[in-house]
Amino acid sequence: MSFTYAPAPESRSVVDIAPSYGLFIDGEFTEATGGKVFKTVSPSSEEVLSEVAHGSAEDVDRAVKAARKAFEKWSALPGSERAKYLFRIARIIQERSRELAVLETLDNGKPIKETRDADLPLVAAHFFYYAGWADKLDHAGYGANPRPLGVAGQVIPWNFPLLMLAWKIAPALATGNTVVLKPAETTPLSALFFADICRQAGLPKGVVNIVTGDGTTGAALVAHEGVNKVAFTGSTAVGKAIARTVAGSDKKLTLELGGKGANIVFDDAPIDQAVEGIVQGIFFNQGQVCCAGSRLLVQESIQDELLDSLKRRLSTLRLGDPLDKNTDIGAINSAEQLARITELADSGEAEGAERWAPACELPEAGYWFAPTLFTNVTQAHRIAREEIFGPVLSVLSFRTPAEAVAKANNSQYGLSAGIWTEKGSRMLAVASKLRAGVVWANTFNKFDPTSPFGGFKESGFGREGGRHGLEAYLDV
C-alpha cells in the first residue's frame, strides 16, 4: 500500500470576493468612465471570480489628479508619521495574510503553499522595511533631506501581484510620493483588497490609487503628463515601449524586465541541495518568475548523475489544485501565457532538443503545463535564448569555469544567476564575472526587502529593495 495524501484544501471561506469592483481613486471605489468592465477568472478552474472596472485614459487622469492633490500634504508629513502609516499597513497585511493568500491563489493560480509561505510574508516584510526608512532618509546616503518626486505611475505584472505591489508602493510612500498603480489585467483582485487595507490603516485619500485595466490603461498612465516617476515590471518588449514613451520628459524611470537566468552547477556542488535549488529556480511559481533559473549549466563530468537525480526529484512534484496545501505546481496564469509556453516548448523539440517530463496528470479545466526539461540544448536554440516564463528548464553543459561564465553571459538579459560549488574562491570569482543583477550561490530564488533586486542589460535598470531601492523615488 502506498502513502497517498488525501486532499487538504485550504478553506475558501476566509475570503469574500465581491461580484464587482470599481477603480480606487481618491479613497473611493468608483465606476470606470462609460462603465466598461472586464472579468477576472481563476486560472485553475476558469471560474469567473469577479467583474472589474476597465480604467480609461480619463480615469487615469482622475487618479493622477487625486494623487497630485494628496501629494502636497503627504510629502509634507514628518517622515515619522508616514512611517507609522506604513507600519500599520504592514501589520494589517500580517493580520489578513491568510485571506490574502487564498485570494492570490484563486486569482493567480499559484499554490497556496507559495502564497502562504513566500508571497504574503514578503509583502508584509517589505512594508515593514520601508516603513522604517520613512524617517531615516537623511541617513540613506543621498544627502540631507532628500525630496520625493511627486506622483508615481506604477504598472505591475501578474506573477506576484501583491508582492510586486508592495515592491512599488512601499518605497514610493516611504519617500513621500503618492501613487497610481495599475495591476495586471489577469490579477487585479489583491490590489483592490489592498485598497481596503489602506482604508483600515486610515491612509489619507488619494495617496494610493488603484486603476485596473489592460495594456491601454497602463500606457495611458505612463504617458500621463502629471506623472513624475514611472516604475514598470513586466516584459522587455513593453519596457522598451515605455522607455520610448518617457523619452524627452522629466519622468524618472525604473524597469524590471525579463531574464534567462543561468544556474551553474560545478562538479564539487552539494548535489542534493543543488537539485533542490534547480527545482526551486525553475518550478517556483510555475517558472513564471523573471529571475527564474531557466538555463541549467551543468559541468559535463557530472551531467548524467545530476540529471538522474533531477528527474527522480521532478517525479515527486505534485501538480494540481492550487488551494491544496500539498500542491507544488499550480496553474499557468492565463490561456495566453499557456499558449506562449506551449509554442516555445514545441520549438525546442522542433530544433532538436530532447524533451522530458515526469508522468503527470493535468486537470481538465484551467491552464496547465507539466514541469518539463530539455536536454541537448545549445546556445543557438530558442529555448536557450528566449524567456519562456513557464515551468520549462533548458539544460546545457560546460567543461570549464570560463566556458560556464561565457555561456551564462551570452544573453540579452542579465537579471539573475546561480552558482553551485563548495569552493568559496570559485564561487566569488565566477560571481564577479557574471553580468547579472542578482547572483545566488548555493541557493536560488531568495528574496528579502533589505536586498536590492534588478537587472543588467535588457533585464532593465534601477533597483528595488534595500537602501538602493529608495533612489528610484527620490529626487537625487
Binding site: 502513502f3 487538504a8 552539494p270 541541495q273
Partner: protein, 327 residues
C-alpha cells in the same frame, strides 16, 4: 540499477566486495569519504522544513498513524529497568490499545542486553522483535572484546536485532578505518542471527558532512540499519539528519543494489512529528522503505500520542492521557 537485496541477504556481502578497494586501506577510505558530495546545511534544513509543511489529513493520516505504530521500537533504556517494567512494555508492544484490538503492534521492544531474556519470554509467539542495544551503549567507551561479548550475550539471550553505537571518538579523530572495522566485527558477531542497527550519535558528530560520511562507513561495513542517536544526548533525531541519512541509503542502493534501513531515535514524541518523518521517507526513498523492515522509530512516549490520535480519528472526540495505558 542492479536488483535490490537487503543488507542481511545472502548476496549482500558479495555486492559490497565490489567496493572493496574503497575500504582497502585507511587512506583509500578517507579519500572516498571526503570525495562524497558536500552537504549545504541551509539547503538541507530548508528541504526538510518544506516537507514538514505537508498536510496529512483523514485517510492519509489514518494510514500514517497505523504505519508509524508498526514502525516503533518501543524502548526502555534506564538504569532503573526491571523485569516487571520490561514485561509491561512487551505487553504494550503486543497490544498497544486495550480498547481497540485493531491497533497494529509495534515492530520491536528495545532494551539493554540483560533484559533481553525477559523481553523474549514475554514476546514469545508474537511477531514483535526484541532489539537490544549493545557495544557499551550509549558511550561506546569500552574495549572491542567487551563490545563483542556484550553483543554475543544479547544474541544468546534471544535478541533479533542489535543496536550498536559507533566509536565517535575514533571518528572525530579521523580514524575512520577503526570505526569501519569495529562495525564489521560486530556484524560478524550478528551473523545471520540478528539484524544490525548502527547508531552514529549524530548530535556528537555535529556536522552534516560527518553524518553523511558515517552513514557510508556504516553501510560499507554491512549495517542493516543506520540509526541517528542513542536518545541520551542533547540533539537526537531531527528531520534534517534523517533526511540526510535517507539520501545516503538511497544513493547506496543505487550504487550497490543493497538496501539499508533507517531509524531515527530520540525526541520524536508526537504524531505530527512522526508523520513528518514518514513524509520524508515517502518523498525521498519512496514506498519501498515504508515498511517496518526498512524504517523504524526509536521512541517510547510517541506510541501513546499515536494511539490518542488514532482514537480521535475513530471516535471524532479528542482523547486524553487517561484513555491510554501508562506502560
Amino acid at each position: 540499477m542492479p536488483t535490490t537485496v537487503p543488507a542481511h541477504g545472502n548476496d549482500a556481502a558479495g555486492r559490497l566486495t565490489e567496493l572493496a578497494d574503497v575500504t582497502a586501506s585507511d587512506s583509500a577510505l578517507r579519500r572516498f569519504l571526503h570525495g562524497l558530495p558536500g552537504v549545504d546545511a541551509v539547503g538541507l534544513e530548508a528541504r526538510a522544513a518544506s516537507l514538514g509543511t505537508r498536510s496529512i489529513k483523514t485517510t492519509a493520516k489514518a494510514y500514517a498513524i497505523d504505519l508509524a505504530i508498526s514502525m516503533i521500537d518501543l524502548t526502555t533504556l534506564e538504569g532503573a529497568d526491571t523485569p516487571g517494567k520490561v514485561r509491561a512494555l512487551a505487553a504494550k508492544a503486543v497490544n498497544p490499545d486495550p480498547t481497540d484490538r485493531t491497533s497494529p503492534r509495534t515492530a520491536a521492544v528495545c532494551v539493554y542486553p540483560d533484559m533481553v531474556a525477559t523481553a523474549k519470554a514475554a514476546l514469545t509467539g508474537t511477531d514483535v522483535k526484541v532489539a537490544s542495544v549493545a557495544t557499551a551503549f550509549p558511550a561506546g567507551r569500552a574495549a572491542l572484546p567487551v563490545k563483542l561479548a556484550d553483543t554475543r550475550d544479547a544474541i544468546a539471550a534471544g535478541a533479533d536485532e542489535i543496536d550498536m553505537v559507533i566509536d565517535r571518538g575514533a571518528f572525530l579523530a579521523g580514524r575512520y578505518m577503526d570505526v569501519f572495522e569495529e562495525i564489521r566485527a560486530v556484524k560478524a558477531e550478528c551473523g545471520d542471527k540478528a539484524r544490525l542497527k548502527v547508531i552514529f550519535e549524530t548530535g556528537e558528530l555535529s556536522t552534516y558532512d560527518n553524518i553523511r560520511r558515517a552513514s557510508w562507513i556504516g553501510m560499507l561495513a554491512g549495517a542493516d540499519f543506520i540509526k541517528t542517536s542513542t536518545g541520551k544526548v542533547a540533539v537526537n533525531a531531527t528531520p534534517s539528519n534523517t533526511l540526510l541519512m535517507l539520501e545516503a541509503v538511497r544513493d547506496f542502493r543505487a550504487l550497490t543494489g543493497v538496501q539499508v534501513g533507517v531509524k531515527p531515535a530520540g525526541g520524536i514524541r508526537t504524531t505530527k512529528d512522526a508523520i513528518k518523518f514518514l513524509v520524508l521517507v515517502n518523498e525521498t526513498v519512496g514506498e519501498e522503505w515504508l515498511d517496518n523492515h526498512w524504517f523504524r522509530f526509536g521512541a517510547s512516549s510517541l506510541l501513546n500520542d499515536l494511539l490518542m490520535q488514532r482514537q480521535k480519528l475513530s471516535t471524532g472526540r479528542y482523547s486524553g492521557p487517561d484513555y491510554v495505558t501508562v506502560d
